[in-house]
């Protein structure tokens, strides 16, 4: 589904990604971990198509297409979803109206007619149950005055509505208390199918107790320096990142 080959990217002249290689297949969950400043969020942003980042090399193939050649909205319509670390506020626009616009543009892209209000509402109710979100929240201005937990839950709700092929969750666990974390993780697990894939970007292994990854990758200085299964995350939890960093630095030196 996703093949990243030697991807390099910079922001304001500073290299952040120094050659990422990663392959994600349908049905897989990949966790990308790493210390602050290792390039985790940059990778998420580059995959989603944020303009602030300059691609310096490499290629990204997504469902047989050149991902880097697509505009952000085309990527989204082709099923790439980014759950934002810091979801932005859009005053005066309710989540409902926002999602209606989004969903119908995605549908139009796939040659499907727009959903009528009744079907849309039905779909919404169904997905609301998944993330235990209150309808009142969806009528409020998008993310405006939402608590940290509400924002993250709203992101997962949007993901449920848009049913992406590739979901990238950028530190969705940060700022969540244990109950909210469980609800969010449950939502993500329920949305998992054999045809979609998830990339979890996280700092802590805590989230991985709830969403069990097939692969864990450690990012350091813009490179994946170690990959393994979920036991790698546990090792990190126990020993921190320093031992891997040292290992990697020794090898590259």
């Amino acid at each position: 589904m996703l093949k990243i080959k030697n991807l390099k990217a910079s922001v304001e002249g500073k290299m952040i990604l120094n050659g990422i290689n990663l392959e994600v297949k349908p049905g897989e969950v990949h966790a990308i971990m790493g210390p602050n400043g290792s390039g985790k969020s940059t990778l998420a942003s580059v995959l989603a198509g944020r303009e602030d980042y300059q691609i310096e090399g490499g290629e990204v193939e997504y469902i047989g297409k050149d991902l880097l050649d697509l505009s952000p909205e085309e990527r989204a319509r082709e099923g790439v979803f980014l759950a934002f670390q810091y979801p932005v506020e859009i005053p005066g626009v309710s989540t409902t109206n926002f999602l209606k616009a989004a969903l119908n543009q995605v549908r139009e892209h796939h040659g499907k007619p727009a959903l009528d209000a009744v079907s849309f509402l039905k779909l919404m109710k169904e997905k609301m149950a998944l993330v235990e979100i209150d309808q009142a929240l969806l009528s409020r201005s998008l993310n405006e005055g939402f608590s940290g937990g509400e924002k993250k839950r709203n992101e997962i709700f949007q993901m449920a509505m848009l049913e992406p092929k590739l979901a990238i969750l950028d530190e969705t666990d940060s700022g969540l208390d244990i109950d909210a974390l469980r609800i969010v993780a449950n939502g993500v697990n329920k949305l998992k199918t054999r045809d979609n894939a998830t990339i979890l970007i996280t700092h802590y292994q805590r989230l991985l107790d709830y969403i069990v990854p097939d692969f864990v990758h450690v990012l350091h200085k813009g490179r994946i320096i170690k990959s393994g299964d979920k036991s790698l995350a546990l090792q990190l939890e126990e020993k921190g990142y320093d031992w891997i960093k040292e290992e990697a630095d020794t090898v590259s030196a």
Binding site: G49, E51, E73, N104, Q158, L162
Partner: protein, 481 residues
């Protein structure tokens, strides 16, 4: 929710939607302005002597005035001797029913989406349609007549209800009020007159469509609304104009009189031709709108959505004379390309415990300039007066300007006046967030802008809200990216 979809559909089109010219013969006055032209207009309208005298006194006063220059807009000098001040569609006999209306004229209305038959049947909106300067058709009149409501063209009111016109014309906006109101008073061609008798609640939204149609013709409309004690009326005004290269002057006057406990809600969607993307042509819209809350407990509410005109200069105002009277002003002003707008309101608190509320949303894009100018004045005897003003500006891009000029003048120590102002830009973060969900940039802008303006849009009657949302989106096409 389907409104959003309509916006999306509209967004794929980009030219000025209402830019066409219909071929109806017009009967025009010669170019220029002098006493003879004033007499010509008055004679054309078969007006009584007192009306002519009123016009002439306004004209003579106008001669002593200078065009104002304090507003934050620039435009080439207007040559008043190069303007045709009167043009009427040729139509000898006034129609008794819609079937008698000139088919070409009706086709024009249909292009604008004003199908009389449909309006009559479905919406319950009485439409007094103005094409150029003469009202051509009035509907629902008989139904309104049963309640004693008068809703007709201004000329008809002068003929049929001279005592009312004489009593109220100029009572809110005096002849000598300002340069453009004096000009309008001298040469106004037609407009609407609305009278709601004591205790009557008008059962339908009253609506007038204005449209400039003849080449190089100034449009000088005059509207007078009188709401007697305890009455209520909601009045809608909307307009679209065909594409033109030359600048056209539009100087309307709207007067609202509200007696004790009367309430008038006046809503406008203004979409005059804004000029080309390069800033060529477009309407000059210099309007004087004012309401007088004359009686205790009366209320006047202005709601406007301004998307058109090359230059807009207008301040719908309320004079809160009666005790406990209320004035409201809700405004969305959009400027794009080379448009300039200097708009706002005046709230003059005279009576005790008078209240006013101002919500202004300015949206600037392209190389446009958008100014809010508002005055809140609390007179000495206005004990307990309260005002709340909120002025928000939204910028798209970095070549446009937003300006706020609040004037607050309080003479009573017990009054409470609040003013809040914000300026924001549509953030790249917001656009990217929308993009990431599959929403194209232009649609994202429409979504964000409509969200920004929601508080005002909510004040509009339903059928106008839909049109206004579409207008916002259309007006801002091509402003980002």
């Amino acid at each position: 929710m389907s409104k959003d979809n309509q916006i999306l559909e509209e967004l794929t089109k980009s030219d000025y939607k209402y830019g066409f010219h219909s071929d109806i013969e017009t009967e025009s006055a010669p170019k220029g302005l002098n006493e003879d032209i004033v007499r010509f207009i008055s004679a054309k309208k078969e007006e009584p002597e007192w009306m002519l005298e009123w016009r002439l006194s306004a004209y003579r006063h106008w001669l002593t005035l200078k065009e104002p220059t304090w507003q934050n807009v620039t435009f080439p000098e207007i040559n008043y001797q190069d303007i045709i001040f009167y043009a009427a569609p040729k139509q000898k006999i006034s129609p008794k029913s819609l079937d008698e209306v000139d088919p070409e004229l009706r086709a024009t209305f249909e292009k604008l989406g004003i199908s009389f038959d449909e309006q009559k049947r479905l919406t319950g909106v009485a439409v007094d349609a103005v094409l150029d300067s003469v009202s051509v058709a009035t509907t629902f009149k008989s139904k309104l007549g049963e309640l004693g409501i008068i809703f007709c063209s201004f000329s008809e009111a002068v003929r049929e209800h001279p005592e009312l016109v004489k009593k109220y014309i100029g009572s809110v906006v005096p002849v000598n009020d300002n340069y453009f109101s004096a000009l309008n008073s001298a040469v106004f061609s037609d407009g609407s007159f609305c009278y709601i008798p004591k205790g009557v609640r008008c059962p339908m939204e009253l609506s007038t469509y204005f449209r400039i149609n003849a080449m190089n013709t100034g449009q000088f409309e005059r509207t007078l609304i009188v709401a007697e004690e305890g009455s209520y009326v909601s009045y809608l005004e909307g307009c679209t104009a065909p594409m033109r290269d030359e600048n056209q002057l539009h100087a309307a006057v709207v007067e609202i009189f509200a007696a004790k406990d009367a309430e008038v809600k006046y809503s406008t969607v203004q979409n005059w031709y804004p000029g080309s993307k390069e800033g060529k042509g477009g309407i000059y819209n210099f309007v004087t709108k004012r309401g007088l809350c004359s009686g205790d407990g009366s209320k006047i509410s202005w709601t406007q959505v301004e998307t058109g005109s090359a230059v807009t200069w207008k301040y719908p105002s309320c004079i809160l004379k009666g005790d406990n009277s209320i004035g409201e002003f809700y405004s969305v002003a959009v400027t794009n390309n080379y448009q300039q707008a200097d708009t706002g309101t005046k709230m003059i608190h005279i009576g005790k415990n008078t209240r006013s509320r101002i919500v202004s949303k300015g949206i600037s894009a392209g190389k446009s300039q958008n100014s809010y100018r508002g005055q809140v004045k609390v007179m000495k005897r206005a004990e307990g007066a309260r005002n709340y003003s909120q002025c928000d500006s939204l910028l798209l891009g970095d070549k446009c300007g937003a300006h706020t000029f609040p004037y607050i003048d309080v003479e009573n120590p017990l009054a409470i006046v609040e003013h809040e102002a914000t300026t924001s830009k549509i953030g790249e973060d917001q656009i990217f967030y929308c993009n990431q969900r599959g929403i194209a940039t232009e649609d994202a802008v429409a979504l964000i802008v409509n969200g920004f303006a929601k508080e005002v849009m909510n004040q509009l009657p339903m059928e106008f809200a839909v049109e206004a949302q579409k207008l916002l989106a259309i007006s801002l096409e091509g402003s980002v990216g």
